[in-house]
């Protein structure tokens, strides 16, 4: 049995208080207290497909075979990949998940995702040359590019207009691959199906792009709140299950949720990317401390 999913009303994501907070965050800039490992991680993510040779690293599964150093292999018998520092990496890419699943949660994950995209995009506009917004499934709004701090308003307006749209793995790949040049990719999603992200992550890695997965975490990622005889419905497909949910079943579901989180971590680790879980603040929670983890993660 299926049901049609009506997304709940989304609060205005970029109200004036948030915009004011956003400006404060951007004015403050990246935290000078960035740790060395964050610097190394950011540097590693900036290693690209072309540029100046900076060294070798061990070959890992998914690396572009064209970058193998066969001479080093002949000398040592070990596979090494040549690392190049790009000459120009002044852009960032925001890859947004607009699926109906993102509309669930308290607070809504979509609201947190849009505000997260605004912060990351604002930082890119302020510190880099530009930002590219990819929203697979959004039809005319699938691709948008902005440059300069002056485009922040347009960026926010674009984000606010993005619809609720489901996109398959193939659609995500078809959207990303032709538009990926250099720079860093910030993929904002719930990654509810970690295995579906593997192909995308590997494709981006083959291009030498650094990827950061952003997961706005909500309470439903760890707890299953429903009890009694309920219809459990999937917002993506509309499929429903009439289940008598008891404590045993809740325990089993939460065990599966834990496995999902572990699987998410494993997938990103295997693909050489990083996954950041950002606790989604409530819609009216505009404390600076709630958003500072984003700045810390984006610090070079």
């Amino acid at each position: 049995m299926t049901r049609s999913f009506e997304p709940p009303a989304l609060p205005e994501p970029f109200e004036a208080p948030f915009v004011q907070l956003l400006h404060e965050l951007l004015a403050r800039g990246l935290s000078p207290a960035s740790r060395r490992d964050e610097h190394h991680r950011a540097r590693r993510s900036q290693l690209g497909q072309s540029g100046t040779f900076v060294g070798h690293r061990r070959y890992a599964h998914g690396d572009d075979l064209r970058r193998l150093d066969w001479a080093a292999y002949a000398r040592t018998g070990v596979l090494f990949v040549k690392q190049l520092a790009e000459d120009e990496r002044r852009t960032a890419t925001l890859l947004l998940d607009l699926s109906p699943r993102m509309c669930l949660g308290a607070p809504q994950r979509r609201l947190a995702a849009l505000r997260l995209a605004a912060v990351v995009g604002g930082l890119a506009l302020r510190q880099l040359d530009g930002v590219q917004v990819l929203a697979p499934g959004a039809k005319a709004l699938t691709v948008a590019a902005y440059s300069g701090a002056g485009d922040l308003v347009e960026l926010l307006r674009h984000l606010a207009r993005l619809p609720v749209a489901a996109a398959t793995e193939q659609e995500v790949l078809a959207t990303c691959e032709p538009r990926m040049g250099t720079g860093h990719v910030h993929w904002i999603s719930d990654f509810a199906r970690p295995d579906a992200a593997v192909r995308v992550l590997r494709a981006l890695r083959r291009r030498g792009l650094g990827v950061t997965g952003w997961l706005p975490a909500i309470a439903e990622d760890e707890r299953f709140a429903a009890r009694g005889f309920v219809d459990v419905a999937d917002p993506l497909t509309g499929q429903t299950l009439a289940l008598p949910i008891d404590a045993g079943l809740v325990a089993a579901i939460e065990k599966e949720l834990l496995r999902t989180r572990q699987r998410q971590d494993r997938v990103f680790t295997e693909c050489g990317a990083r996954l950041l879980r950002w606790p989604a603040p409530a819609a009216d929670d505009l404390r600076r401390s709630a958003y500072e983890p984003i700045l810390a993660a984006c610090a070079p």
Partner: protein
């Protein structure tokens, strides 16, 4: 396969209602979750299935409902019309003991000679067992043995054709009439050799065993036993059922007589008496009369046999009243001379074949001890009233003891009728007042008896009568009763079982197709419904 009460299948319309009622209520709360996949994996891990989506449970419920309605509708296999009972009329008359293989002995080759020969009865029962083995189990089988003793066997005993005895006796049953009397829904199977039947049943299955053959038979044998004289004459009635006059061999042998063989030419179907004098042996034993005809399959009527007892020792003891005169001793001497016996002393340890007592008193058990008493008072019995000059009125002319004897001249001076023991009187007198009184009785029977006269020999003119010696010899024989007579051990076959030349014949017919009762699957359907419900309760 059909339904006995097909209209009850309307209840199947309730199945959708039951299915609808079996469904749990729809949940009123809808929970949208971003982790639907995790929920499904949790269900799979716990092997749970949403109750409203359990196709297996729904199918089990539908199956149980369908099976229950099918049982209510009387699902089953329809009956096949036809008889469901079989009555076998098995001819067990004497002619069924004929061994047709014996008639072919002359032409038998080595193979058939090596094979065990079987009589018509054995053939019939063997074929009947084979036939009944193919009869469906639901058919009720009854076997009627017709001929001799009428026996009926039912069920397993009937199917195995057991406990029916051996053939013998006359075929006193008209198979045609008997088969016609059976109800129409009963299948009939007649197994016979056609002997003694004018026609064979046209109804039901038929199996005819044997065929036409020549036969010679010993119809009867009469022995004229001259005992206590040694003469023995056998009068043998023979008959031959052949197409032409046939020469048969008659042989008389056994332990009781010296063997005699004689060839006799018999005319077809005409009984012929053959008288053969024999010499009887004192030791007794079997006496067998056998007639032989080449190609005779029926051996049962070819032999007549009897058993002759050993000849009793003709010893006579005498106890005579001294006042009774010499009659007793003279009579004993005369009797001993006639039967080639001897007179022995009447002592306690003497073993006498006959005790002859004249007058006096004696301890004697009448009917137990062989004795011939004349006016003797038995111990413990009063002499009673003396009857003077009773008139002899008559004697039992049918009793072999005194038949054909002339006792009309018998005169009795003094009689003591009350000294007679209980027995069968054979000599009657009348008191002076005209009242009838017995003058002689026979006590006992069988192999031992005693004869008692109510008067002494001296008180009558019996010793002077010409019939007296014959009476003495008959009394001696009568005292031994059946102990000295021959006992036939193999009587002749009944008439109609011996002429094997023209038995009733008809081609064999197989058993008709039997009907099959309706097989109901109600029980199976009910059990299936219960099993499906139990399985549904077990399934989650």
């Amino acid at each position: 396969m059909n339904f006995l009460d097909a209209y009850r299948l309307w209840w199947l319309l309730l199945v959708p209602v039951l299915v609808w009622l079996a469904q749990p209520p729809k949940p009123r709360v809808v929970t949208w979750t971003p982790h639907f996949d995790a929920v499904e994996r949790a269900l799979a891990a716990r092997r749970l299935r949403p109750p409203r989506r359990s196709n297996l449970r729904l199918l089990l419920l539908l199956g149980a409902c369908g099976a229950a309605v099918a049982a209510y509708g009387g699902l089953g296999v329809p009956a096949v019309p036809g008889p469901q009972r079989l009555v076998v009329l098995l001819d067990a008359s004497a002619s069924m003991s004929a061994d047709d293989g014996a008639a072919d002995d002359g032409a038998a080759d080595a193979v058939t000679a090596a094979a065990p020969r079987r009589s018509r009865w054995q053939d019939a029962t063997a074929q009947l067992r084979t036939t009944l083995a193919a009869v469906p189990e639901h058919v009720e089988v009854t076997v009627l043995r017709c001929g001799g003793d009428l026996l009926r066997r039912h069920g397993a005993f009937a199917r195995q054709v057991r406990d029916l005895g051996e053939p013998g006796g006359a075929a006193a049953v008209d198979f045609v009439a008997l088969a016609a009397q059976l109800p129409d829904d009963v299948a009939v199977c007649t197994v016979t050799d056609g002997q003694g039947q004018t026609s064979l049943p046209t109804r039901g299955a038929l199996r005819v065993v044997g065929g036409a053959a020549d036969n010679a038979a010993v119809l009867d044998v009469q022995l004229d036993d001259g005992w206590p004289l040694p003469e023995l004459v056998a009068a043998i009635d023979l008959v031959a059922f052949t197409a032409r006059a046939a020469e048969v061999q008659v042989r008389i042998d056994g332990d009781a007589v010296e063997p005699v063989a004689q060839a006799v030419t018999l005319q077809p179907t005409l009984p012929q008496r053959l008288t053969v004098p024999l010499a009887r042996r004192a030791a007794g034993g079997a006496l067998r009369v056998t007639v032989s005809l080449p190609g005779d399959p029926l051996a049962a009527d070819d032999v007549w046999s009897c058993v002759l007892p050993p000849l009793p020792a003709p010893t006579i003891a005498v106890l005579a009243d001294p006042e009774g005169g010499p009659y007793a001793n003279v009579a004993a001497e005369a009797l001993a001379a006639e039967v080639s016996g001897r007179v022995v002393a009447a002592t306690d340890d003497a073993t006498a074949g006959l005790l002859l007592v004249d007058g006096g008193q004696i301890e004697l058990r009448p009917g137990i001890q062989r004795a011939l008493c004349f006016g003797t008072r038995l111990a413990g019995r009063a002499a009673g009233e003396v009857l003077l000059e009773p008139r002899v009125t008559d004697w039992d002319r049918r009793d072999p003891l005194v038949a054909d004897l002339d006792l009309s001249g018998l005169r009795v001076l003094v009689a003591l009728p009350e000294t007679l023991p209980d027995g069968a009187p054979f000599l009657f007198g009348a008191a002076p007042g005209g009242e009838p009184v017995p003058l002689a009785v026979v006590a006992g029977g069988g192999e031992r008896c005693s004869l008692h006269f109510a008067f002494r020999l001296a008180d009558s003119n019996l010793p002077l009568l010409p019939a007296f010696p014959q009476l003495l010899r008959r009394a001696f024989v009568r005292a031994y009763g059946t102990g000295a007579s021959a006992t036939a051990v193999r009587p002749a076959l009944p008439a109609g079982e011996q002429d094997l030349r023209q038995p009733a014949a008809a081609p064999d017919r197989p058993l008709p197709p039997f009907g099959v009762p309706r097989r109901s699957w109600r029980g199976v359907c009910l059990w299936l419904a219960l099993a499906l419900l139990a399985l549904r309760a077990w399934c989650r």
